[in-house]
């Protein structure tokens, strides 16, 4: 390799975190993290969504600055002010959403950010590129445009680029999301080669299977706290327990489902780059609660949105109450009693800049004259604020409410007689009390025959409140499982892609 960077830089680097703390508003995202990572190893960082993994890695890669604490490289304290700083220290990060330039060619992507003369030499860069990619068995076409690549290929490009820039420590944030199993094999092989060369590989993931297959040591984060470190070989059950905490005894479950089918999916095929979901057949009964379990980006959000007309299926049918709505848009689903509460409350759920009372005015079915009966809707807002324990006033803009209160507001805005409610992460960011309250409200609706279809990253929530569960992994959907006979461990392994064959007797290769 003729890159000037690799020659002057040392090949090995130990990375150490000392008492790292980081707050985002009221959230303590990293609590006093101490961690030492030796060069020449693949170190796993495991944790659920929101456990603080990405925050810690962004601190290391210079994207954010910690509130307190130090980073040591080879026992020397360093200050990393920007990602450019990080790369100068030899730290490169592969982001979950590839930070590349889709309309440019590969080779141009490779060059951007590289120091050197005014006109980069494509010929010599091309030579470097080919040499480098041969080492890892990649076969990227340097002339291709990035937007024609798969996520896996874009990762490969980014890894090559970071190495070319002189990275000795490589951080990979959820690299196995959205890539094929073949690409995963290639990726893992490449990482093993790099570790043998003495590079430090930090592998951030919430997928047990990947971590177990690759890492020599794993640190587990939960709610911003470093729960512990475990060396290989790993015990899956132990890891699950560390990730999710002690199993709490489940409360009484009551199955309210009736015989009537309200939603039917027939051979449904939906696609949203990079995932595709095929052959989904499923029936949702009135009053039933279905939990969609899976790591983020496994396809559950795509299926959910396809059930409400926000993503149009490529083939197959979505039938709501015996009406074929497959190619209808969202508004028609709404008219047929389907409602959707998205995860991003202020982007898709509530309208920032409008008050609570105004939201009730828009969402309500009643008093639809020409003029708004402001007193009526103010009263209604007050009533709902009371009923749903929202901390706020009718004249307050929704964006000034706290997350939990926004969620309660969104729930209180749902119309009364709905057939199906689809929810994305209904209790994300809520405290336990609010979460229990949310579910109380939802279950009340189930009693009236409303069915619920929800996504959650919280497995306990899924087990606690669902009647049946669909498990998602990389776009594969499991047959429905009975929630009352499923255990947390089982679910934890399934969403990590383990044990599918045994449980579902599937021939599919995962």
């Amino acid at each position: 390799m003729s890159s000037p960077f690799l020659k002057i830089k040392r090949e090995k680097m130990n990375v150490e975190f000392k008492n790292i703390n980081k707050h985002f508003g009221p959230v303590h995202a990293n609590v006093d993290i101490n961690l030492s990572i030796k060069s020449g190893s693949i170190f796993g960082i495991l944790g659920e969504n929101g456990a603080g993994k990405s925050t810690l890695m962004k601190v290391l890669s210079g994207f954010i600055q910690p509130d307190s604490g130090e980073i040591l490289l080879d026992d020397k304290v360093v200050t990393i002010d920007s990602p450019a700083d990080a790369i100068n220290y030899g730290i490169g990060m592969l982001h979950q959403d590839p930070l590349d330039f889709p309309p440019m060619r590969l080779i141009e992507n490779f060059i951007v950010g590289q120091k050197g003369g005014l006109v980069p030499s494509y010929k010599s860069t091309m030579k470097d590129f080919e040499e480098l990619q041969k080492k890892f068995g990649f076969s990227l076409d340097p002339e291709a445009y990035v937007d024609t690549l798969t996520v896996g290929e874009r990762q490969q490009l980014e890894i090559l680029r970071l190495l070319w820039m002189g990275a000795n420590a490589l951080i990979l944030d959820e690299p196995t999301t959205g890539i094929s199993s073949l690409q995963k094999e290639k990726l893992f092989a490449a990482l093993k080669i790099l570790a043998e060369q003495g590079k430090t590989i930090i592998f951030v993931s919430h997928k047990l299977e990947d971590v177990e297959a690759l890492c020599s040591r794993v640190a587990i984060l939960r709610k911003g706290i470093l729960v512990g470190e475990v060396p290989a070989p790993f015990d899956s059950d132990e890891l699950v327990e560390m990730m999710f905490g002690k199993v709490i005894t489940l409360g009484e479950r009551n199955n309210l489902s009736q015989e009537k089918v309200v939603l039917e999916l027939k051979d449904l095929y939906v696609e949203q780059y990079p995932l595709r979901i095929e052959n989904v057949n499923f029936q949702l009964r009135a009053g039933e609660v279905i939990g969609l379990a899976g790591m983020e980006g496994s396809g559950q959000d795509i299926l959910l949105r396809a059930c409400v007309g926000l993503i149009r299926p490529i083939s197959g049918k979505v039938i709501v109450k015996e009406k074929d709505l497959s190619h209808k848009n969202y508004l028609e689903y709404m008219e047929n009693g389907v409602s959707f509460l998205p995860a991003s409350r202020l982007e898709e759920g509530l309208v920032p800049g409008l008050t609570l009372a105004e939201h009730f005015t828009i969402a309500g079915d009643e008093k639809k004259g020409l003029f708004i009966d402001k007193d009526y809707f103010k009263e209604k807002a007050e009533k709902m604020i009371d009923e749903y324990h929202i901390i706020g006033r009718p004249d307050l803009n929704v964006e000034s409410l706290s997350g939990g209160n926004q969620q309660r507001a969104a729930l209180s805005l749902l119309k009364n007689s709905l057939s199906i409610i689809l929810l994305e992460h209904p209790t994300r960011g809520l405290d336990i009390e609010s979460a229990i309250y949310m579910w109380g409200k939802l279950k009340e609706r189930c009693q009236q025959g409303t069915s619920i279809f929800f996504i959650s990253g919280d497995l306990e929530e899924i087990l606690q409140y669902s009647d049946r569960i669909l498990v998602f992994f990389s776009g594969h959907v499991s047959p429905p499982m009975d929630a009352s006979t499923t255990t947390l461990d089982q679910l934890g392994q399934l969403i990590g892609g383990k044990g599918w064959k045994q449980v579902f007797d599937t021939k599919e290769k995962l």
Binding site: Y330, L331, M334, F340, P342, L346, E347, E348, G349, L350, V351, P352, G353, L354, E358, H359, T361, I362, A363, K368, G369, L370, F371, I372, K374, L413
Partner: protein, 347 residues
């Protein structure tokens, strides 16, 4: 920070904007070796000096107010209706065309005027609807679609004045043949302003104020403008509302054009829109898209326009100075808002 204090700070920054724009214009005046105070006094005198001048201010105020009313509708859905100039022009063309059709008939002038004004409103709405269609179905940014339609409207207008509707014998920039006096909107005695057009302006303002403040429809428009995705998710058909907001704006712009024809010029002239559309955009920005301050600010802008007429007569200065004053006022108010937000935190 309590509410009244934030409000007074906000006012302070806005006044700062006004002071800066006056300073800026003063510097320019000094540069061209003029007396700033003298010029300002002249503008003031020119706008308020006598009843005729005040009535001239109102002549400008009416279309300015109507146009800005319409723009509040498109701004509410978050759109920049730069095509407003063309919408005024097409409104005027439709009015003139329909009036020409009925000139020789036995219909009563009142009826003819009414029909012509309605035609003007429809014309404006069609032109605005085109901008809306280009935006929602053609993917053309409303700014460029609007500009294109402005140019087309101008071409159409000039084409008619010099072509099909030209004065017998003398086609010229002075416009089409004036209409007989019974087809004019009646004015006060000898003043230029028509009581009817003032009534239209006030009714328009009231309608737009209540539409945006008090109706379900206005609230839905606002929701679309503030968060299109969320609004759609709450069940509002978004593109239909965007189209409607364009059409409403077009109705107002068309009415303004119709008034220019029936009450001010009594014929079609090449610059029939008089730049009121762009001026309306500036007013809308200055009043932060809230109808409540519209009437006085529009009056202020109208007064500047009329007062500015004195500049070339007395001081041999170009009357476009008032445009500079208006523009720099909006600019400095915006910058001072930005400075406030940056250094004192949001809002």
């Amino acid at each position: 920070m309590n509410k009244s204090r934030t409000r007074s700070i906000s006012l302070l920054f806005q006044l700062g904007g006004l002071v800066f724009s006056l300073l800026f214009v003063s510097i320019i005046l000094i540069l061209v070796k003029s007396q700033p105070l003298e010029a300002f006094r002249l503008i003031w005198e020119g706008a308020t000096g006598n009843a005729t001048r005040i009535s001239s201010v109102l002549v400008v105020w009416v279309p300015l107010l109507l146009v800005t009313c319409g723009l509040l509708s498109t701004f509410t859905t978050g759109m920049w209706n730069i095509g407003i100039e063309g919408q005024i022009t097409v409104g005027a063309i439709f009015t003139t065309g329909v009036m020409r059709l009925f000139l020789e008939t036995s219909l009563s002038p009142v009826l003819v005027i009414t029909i012509s004004i309605l035609a003007g409103m429809i014309g404006g709405a069609i032109w605005a609807g085109l901008a809306g269609v280009l935006k929602t179905f053609g993917g053309v940014n409303e700014i460029f679609g609007g500009l294109g339609l402005n140019f087309i409207a101008t071409a159409l207008n000039i084409g008619l004045i010099f072509g099909a509707w030209s004065r017998p014998g003398v086609a010229s920039m002075s416009g089409t043949e004036p209409f007989p006096e019974q087809f004019w909107l009646p004015t006060f005695q000898n003043f230029r302003v028509s009581i009817w057009s003032i009534a239209f302006a006030i009714i328009g303002l009231v309608i737009i104020y209540f539409m945006l403040q008090g109706t379900h429809f206005g609230l839905r428009l606002k929701a679309v403008g503030k968060g299109m995705k969320s609004a759609f998710r709450m069940g509002i058909p978004t593109w239909q509302h965007m189209m409607l907001s364009f059409i409403i704006c077009g109705l107002f712009a068309g009415l303004a054009g119709a008034i220019q024809v029936t009450a001010v010029y009594h014929r079609l002239i090449p610059s029939i829109s008089s730049g009121y559309g762009f001026m309306g955009l500036m007013i809308a920005m200055l009043i932060n898209y809230q109808a409540i301050w519209l009437a006085p600010i529009a009056l202020f802008f109208a007064a500047l326009n009329i007062g500015g007429i004195q500049l070339p007569i007395v001081l041999k200065l170009d009357s476009s100075l008032t445009g500079v004053l208006q523009g720099s006022l909006v600019l400095f108010v915006m910058i001072s808002q930005g400075v406030k937000q940056k250094f004192l935190g949001r809002k």
